[in-house]
Symmetry: C2
Subunit: 269 residues, 2 copies
DNA sequence: CGCATACTTGAGCGAAATCAAGGCCTGTGG
DNA sequence: CCACAGGCCTTGATTTCGCTCAAGTATGCG
């Protein structure tokens, strides 16, 4: 069985023990980039940072509180307005979190992947829906069990706080994007973010190295995330291709040819 | 000196002890609406919920950790990218939190008022700037003192988590607004939110009672919050006036004539 | 092969941005 | 007291970016 310290290293996205000893959080991309998730003794198939809040000798107890759930692509497993009975940790796959208006318009607020938390609403109802994009595996905790775990392992709450703060930073970034960026800047920002996450998977190279960004989501999802219509996503993608900063690979993948150029088009300096 | 229980009642916006005993948070508007802040024995002039995390007999120690700061209107007291050395609690006044793009475009991510926390970034740098709109009074805690307080009063972390979750819900709502709503829906949503906050200050009446929404911010600020230009704010305001749902009072105040009508125009059902 | 689904591309339109005056307060100084 | 300046807001004219509508292409699947 791994020690808590070993587990910690595996995914620092939500680690609270940053370099300032207790009150800092390393950037998500860095953390996710440097150490790919590995097996988790605590709660399922993949290593997630929340496990590090649990002493190694207690992992069995922690594990017993969770239920592993499999979700098919396209299936909705949390619904805005429904009773928030469960708390989830993604162990495998990608989901979209979305909010809808009564007339059907929808906004994807984020894409979540391995190691991310869901259902951390301190309300009795979920404030958004979650839908699987790829096949998924989740750790599910009932609310009472979650409460018990919080009581047993106070460090977990620290981690959740760090996670929530990090999500808040991302949300603010997204508000800037939605409120003030052009279609081109939005798509470029999105691709830069996604490429950064995928970066370590690609062979490291020079400044203008190619990065394969594997996008699990459809054009419609990208549009709903960036606040644009699907046609605009398509057209803007062509624009970026024409500019030579990206190339479309077969399927839904994108090859970033010039990350620096793409960043220049993202509006962030 | 007040007991912790008494203090708790004063502002439940960030209270973690909701009706589900530990994992729920009442809606902000309800909480803020039902009990206006009063004097706080712990950290300054106004009652704030974080004080409730501190046992009554420890309030003096808590108080000693804070410094009261006054800020003039228009003055910036947190800067995006600067070292996140301080943590603030607003005791009086209104500020805007904003993010900027290199070319000067800016997005206000939220307006904060009495009892709100600032600087809760688990990064070493602030991820946004904060600028006073009205004259303000703040409780300031240095990072080391904050850490000490967290260690001394673990309940504080629970409250911060609840607060962060609540902000996350608001941020998601705002993403929906910025990504998918029309100019008219945006402004209507904003006014509904603001009127709801001001509601208790106005005499309660029927379904179509008038509510005076005192807006401390300029048209430019509203535009930067809603992702629209100042001219569009002005034009859309006229549209709402023509529709008869609002009337402009002298100064920057708005009289909501028909809250139900305004809500119908906000896109939220 | 035919059909369904997702994506691309084109043409035209429209909501909001931009550009440009003009009005209305408030404060200041003659 | 009035004249003037400087914010801030409003209103009008024009432009433009992204949306809508519509058709066409690729891909996958029974």
């Amino acid at each position: 069985m791994q020690t808590a310290a070993t587990i910690e290293r595996c995914d620092s996205r939500v680690g609270i023990e940053g370099r300032e000893a207790g009150l800092s959080l390393p950037p998500a991309r860095q953390g996710a980039a440097q150490a790919p998730p590995s097996k988790c003794a605590g709660c399922g198939t993949r290593q997630i940072a929340i496990c590090a809040a649990v002493p190694a000798q207690e992992l069995a107890r922690f594990s017993a509180a969770a239920t592993t759930v499999r979700i098919e692509p396209g299936h909705r497993f949390m619904d805005e307005g429904e009773a928030a009975d469960n708390f989830f940790i993604v162990t495998n796959g990608t989901a979209k979190l979305l909010k809808m208006l009564p007339d059907g318009r929808q906004q994807i607020t984020s894409f979540v992947g391995d190691g991310d938390f869901l259902g951390l609403a301190f309300l009795t109802q979920y404030s958004y829906s979650a839908e699987a994009i790829t096949a998924m595996r989740l750790c599910r905790f009932s609310r009472p069990r979650m409460r018990q775990l919080f009581a047993d392992f106070p460090l977990m709450e620290k981690r959740l706080l760090a996670s929530a703060c990090h999500e808040l930073v991302l949300a603010q970034e997204q508000m800037l994007l939605l409120g003030r960026k052009s279609a081109c800047e939005r798509l470029a920002s999105f691709l830069v973010d996604w490429a950064r996450k995928a970066e370590p998977a690609t062979a490291p190279g020079g400044l203008h190295r190619q990065i394969l960004a594997q996008l699990p989501m459809s054009r419609a999802d990208i549009g709903d995330y960036l606040g644009m219509r699907i046609e605009t996503v398509s057209r803007t993608l062509r624009l970026l291709k024409t500019a030579g900063v990206i190339a479309t690979a077969p399927g839904w993948d994108i090859m970033v040819q010039d990350l620096a150029g793409l960043e220049a088009m993202s509006g962030n300096a």
